[in-house]
């Protein structure tokens, strides 16, 4: 495995961008060229699942339809993630521009930003920026971006639940297939990308694929924006090259007493100190949507897990059995073990249950509960019992 040194990058927030010019240049290229640049760059989605962005656009463009949409997923509900907020606050033009490029490639006339309910305070500035943007691009493309407010459920960040919510229905994930590239918003082919993904796509248009591809590893190209929180002296937003080993990260951000790092939020993995060195941050190791939460030795990992499970128990949409009931059983189960009402071996049953949830749940939420559960129970078993 190739380990990278920790390296700070300054692509996304760099204030050198004349979006209109870059768009003009990009629009002079053919759609195939743009898609090829994206494919060449190796950009993968930053929303969690890591699907190659170029392919997503290509599939959507190729899907026969009278109408297509591009949607920017700004629901940012993962605990410990706040980087999309920063991006929308600091460089909204780059987000809009990324959407405009996508719109050109797939032939969308309308785009939507699905904005997390709690980010309502961003609205006035976003609206202002959007008005200006619409005005700037009207000579380039017939494309309009609308903002749709989310209503506070974590599950509405899941793409198909997001479409349901946008269509005025209850935010419940759909069956897949069909995937959004075939039938997304209003059952039309839809590109849905994370805020950050769209900005990187635009950065790739601006700088060419090579500048992006040079960064990171073969499985995880480029850089990424991290939200660093927890027991760190310097919490905040950092753009870092992908592929570094986790111990490098801890060296930079830890407080000297780091016990574990939760990579990827509640849906992610918990990496204990002894495994920091061998763990790579990226799709070949532990992937992350951006949340990096550092825990020092004062933390009870039982409490950490309990918190996550409480979150899932409440935020599951509740439609499918493994997730709805599984979450309740996991939390009640570790409580029972802690209180001595169940023997420690019950943890093995719970691990099996989390495995079933991973295999049998309908969407990514239920499927990913096992990540934190098995990594915390697996690495901190004693803390669960005593």
């Amino acid at each position: 495995m190739t380990y990278k040194k920790l390296k700070r990058i300054d692509l996304i927030f760099h204030e050198d961008c004349e979006c209109h010019k870059v768009l003009e240049k990009t629009f002079s290229k053919s759609n195939d060229e743009i898609i090829n640049d994206l494919l060449e760059s190796g950009l993968k989605g930053r929303g969690g699942a890591g699907f190659p962005t170029g392919l997503k656009w290509k599939f959507t463009a190729e899907q026969p339809s009278d109408e297509r949409f591009v949607i920017c997923n700004a629901d940012e509900g993962e605990p410990g993630t706040f980087k999309d907020r920063e991006i929308l606050f600091k460089v909204p033009d780059k987000v809009f521009s990324g959407m405009a490029v996508c719109a050109k490639v797939i032939g969308a006339k309308k785009g939507y930003i699905y904005l997390r309910g709690e980010y309502r305070f961003l609205l006035p500035e976003l609206r202002k920026a959007l008005d200006k943007f619409h005005n700037d691009i009207k000579d380039l493309i017939d494309f309009e971006i609308l903002i749709q407010m989310g209503s506070g459920a974590y599950i509405c960040g899941e793409e198909s639940a997001l479409f349901e919510s946008m269509e005025g229905k209850r935010g419940e994930p759909r069956n897949k297939p069909p995937y959004p590239t075939v039938a997304g918003f209003r059952n039309k082919p839809t590109v849905i990308n994370n805020v950050e993904t769209l900005v990187y796509a635009f950065m790739i248009c601006m700088h060419g694929p090579m500048k992006f591809k040079e960064l990171g590893t073969s499985d995880s190209r480029g850089s990424k924006v991290f939200s660093v929180s927890g027991d760190t002296p310097i919490p905040g937003i950092y753009e870092l090259e992908l592929g570094m080993a986790l111990d490098q990260f801890v060296e930079e951000f830890g407080d000297g007493d780091t016990k574990a790092v939760q990579v990827g939020g509640a849906a992610g993995f918990c990496v204990p100190r002894k495994k920091l060195k061998e763990t790579i941050i990226g799709f070949e190791g532990v992937p992350t949507g951006g949340s990096m939460k550092v825990f020092n030795s004062s933390r009870s990992m039982y409490n950490v897990l309990h918190n996550y499970l409480e979150f899932f128990e409440e935020e599951s949409c509740g439609q499918c059995t493994p997730c709805r009931v599984g979450c309740q059983q996991l939390i009640k189960g570790i409580e029972a073990v802690k209180k001595g009402e169940k023997k420690a071996v019950y943890l093995e049953q719970l691990l099996k249950l989390s495995e079933t949830m991973k295999l049998a749940s309908k969407c990514g939420l239920g499927q990913s509960v096992a990540n934190s559960f098995s990594s915390i129970v697996g690495n901190f078993r004693e803390e669960m019992i005593y």
Binding site: E172, N175, E314, G318, C320, T321, L359, A360, K362
Partner: protein, 596 residues
């Protein structure tokens, strides 16, 4: 569409592209358990018991929701599948108030079936979550009981109410561990737009939605020596009852049903078909009268199109959703309620029984009829016209409780009076039946000739199409009805409230110009009613329908106006259709209800 080849448990299957893995498995008789899946509904994919393993896929897939694709290799029973499925069943049980011996659905429950297949140890694997939940039972309604502690949240009921009925009385509320099936503002079913059609009951896999049963009350009445208990049986019951007593769908069991009812101790076993014939006389005359007022008298207040009023689910639907069309409803009561009003008047007089001592019971394919019998409008005899309504299912239960070997019972005839009927009444049980029966009589009144269809079978109004528009040209009228000469009588027939809504919206927009509308609230008409044996699906409903038409064609009399008992009741008691007495006993008006 092209065909594709897949492999299920090592067996090659060729199947149409677009079909699911579940379809493919069923085609080769591989049994995959399901809970949220129902043939009549769109796919939900939420219970996850139908999971299978697809070679190369990271996770298991829900076979009900996953389209088969060429070359797929599927295992339905691998270690991974079994262990996940067992876990899912255990999870469902851990949330479930599994009080089977006290449950109305005991031995008729899909969750119980799965538990009996998959549970091998006597212990629950997971913690019992039931004590932590504030499950509620809604038993305010005379028709439906909703017990959340028995709910597995498969949302079949939600989809039923939304897709088949366009009522959406039930929805999903809250999320996570609190997620539940609920009504608007969690009001009782009694207080919301629910039409009591019972279609959700027919599709609920557990005991979470059931009819309110009156079995014990009816036994008490039977055992009470001071009571004279009369029972009427609706047309559609006789083609479905057998299913709950071990017979194949599509069997006509009229004679055995009569025999069973007599053995159970009912004092007089009579037929709703009699009052169905009567309904045709009243409703047919009402239609012709309205046409006359509109065409000859040019009366602007007369309401056309006229719509049938025998389906109480449809009545409540129109009260909530199209109250501005209430006057378009025929003023006729449903056959059940006509029968009830006559049982405690005409019948009581003829039999010289004090109506206060008559208990009138009806056997119905319907749950809404329970609500209907409770309506304040339905006391024109001076008493509650119909005391207890039992569903086909409840009757099957009584027959079992009575220890009767149903299959071995002889065929017996209905008692008299009010037991005689024609084929026109029998077909009330299927969508299009009232229309056909009305046309058979009305056409003959107007022209003096039989309807111009072979063997009186008006086939265009039959069948499972949701909306059937049929025009009948009236020619060669008798002098009294000559104003109808050459008139194209425009009719439309709809079943299931989604189709009814579509028709009403066409009426509203002016696109649908009709004279006569037949609506049955349930898919397929009463044969698919909310009180019929479970399960239901298109195939079963078709078989019941075929049985209905078989019963019709085998009847010596097939036109309502030829029913001798109907002729007699007009002579002895009612006078003529739409007489003052008829209006008093057989007609009513309904009032608008709020949507919320």
């Amino acid at each position: 569409m092209a065909n594709i080849n897949i492999k299920i448990d090592g067996v090659e299957v060729e199947i149409e592209e677009g079909k699911t893995i579940l379809d493919a498995a069923r085609a080769i008789n591989v049994h995959i358990p399901t809970l949220c899946y129902h043939e009549d509904l769109c796919v939900a994919g939420n219970c996850r018991v139908c999971m299978v393993e697809v070679k190369g896929a990271r996770a298991l897939v829900a076979s009900c929701a996953m389209p088969a694709s060429d070359g797929m290799e599927i295992q339905t029973n691998s270690l991974k599948v079994r262990s996940a499925r067992k876990n899912v069943i255990e999870l469902l049980l851990s949330e479930h108030n599994a009080d089977c011996t006290n449950c109305y659905k005991n031995k008729k429950c899909e969750l119980q079936d799965l538990a009996s297949e998959y549970k091998t140890s006597g212990e629950a694997v997971y913690l019992d979550l039931v004590p932590l939940k504030n499950y509620t039972i809604d038993d305010f309604s005379p028709s439906i009981i909703k017990d959340d502690s028995k709910c597995i949240r498969c949302q079949r009921c939600v989809r039923t109410c939304e897709e088949l009925q366009h009522v959406s009385a039930l929805g999903v509320a809250y999320k996570g561990d609190k997620m539940k099936i609920s009504t608007f503002f969690e009001n009782p079913m009694y207080d919301v737009v629910c039409t009591n059609c019972g279609q959700c009951i027919n599709r609920c896999p557990t005991g979470s939605l059931i009819e309110r049963n009156y079995v014990d009350e009816v036994w008490d009445a039977i055992y009470d020596e001071n009571k004279h208990v009369v029972v009427q049986t609706a047309p559609a019951t006789r083609v479905a009852l057998g299913e709950d007593l071990g017979m194949e769908p599509g069997k006509v069991v009229t004679g055995k049903m009569v025999s069973a009812l007599k053995r159970l101790g009912f004092d007089s076993v009579l037929d709703t078909d009699f009052s169905a014939d009567l309904t045709i006389m009243e409703e047919g005359t009402e239609l012709l009268t309205r046409l006359k007022k509109a065409l000859v008298d040019k009366d602007p207040t007369v309401k056309l199109p006229m719509a049938t009023s025998c389906s109480p689910g449809w009545i409540k639907f129109i009260e909530h959703t199209f109250p501005e069309y209430l006057d378009n409803l025929s003023t006729c009561k449903s056959p059940q309620q006509m029968f009830g009003a006559l049982a405690k008047t005409y019948y009581a007089q003829k039999k010289k029984i004090n109506p206060a001592n008559i208990v009138s019971v009806s056997i119905m394919p319907c749950v809404a009829k329970k609500f209907e019998a409770d309506r304040p409008e339905m006391r024109d005899s001076g008493y509650k016209d119909v005391d207890y309504v039992l569903t086909t299912r409840e009757l099957a239960r009584m027959i079992k409780q009575g220890g009767l070997d149903f299959g071995a019972l002889p065929e017996e005839r209905y008692d008299s009076i009010m037991g005689e009927s024609t084929g026109a009444a029998v077909i009330f049980g299927a969508t299009g039946g009232v229309m056909e029966a009305a046309l058979r009589t009305a056409y003959e009144i107007v022209t003096g000739r039989e309807v111009p269809f072979e063997n009186l079978n008006i086939t265009p109004v039959r069948g499972m199409d949701g909306v059937k528009e049929v025009s009948v040209k009236i020619e060669g009228t008798v002098p009294e009805w000559s104003f109808l000469e050459g008139v194209e009588l425009k009719t439309v027939t709809a079943h299931g409230l989604t189709n009814a809504k579509y028709v009403m919206e066409r009426v509203k927009s002016g696109e649908g110009a009709y004279h006569f509308i037949e609506v049955m609230g349930c898919p397929g008409g009463c044969i698919g009613g909310g009180g019929q044996p479970i399960p239901t699906n298109m195939e079963i409903r078709k078989k019941r329908t075929e049985a209905i038409y078989m019963e019709d064609s085998g009847k010596p009399l097939r036109k309502s106006h030829e029913n001798p008992e109907v002729i007699a009741i007009y002579k002895e008691f009612l006078g003529e259709p739409l007489s003052h007495k008829s209006h008093e006993l057989l007609h009513t008006h309904y009032k608008a209800r709020q949507r919320y």
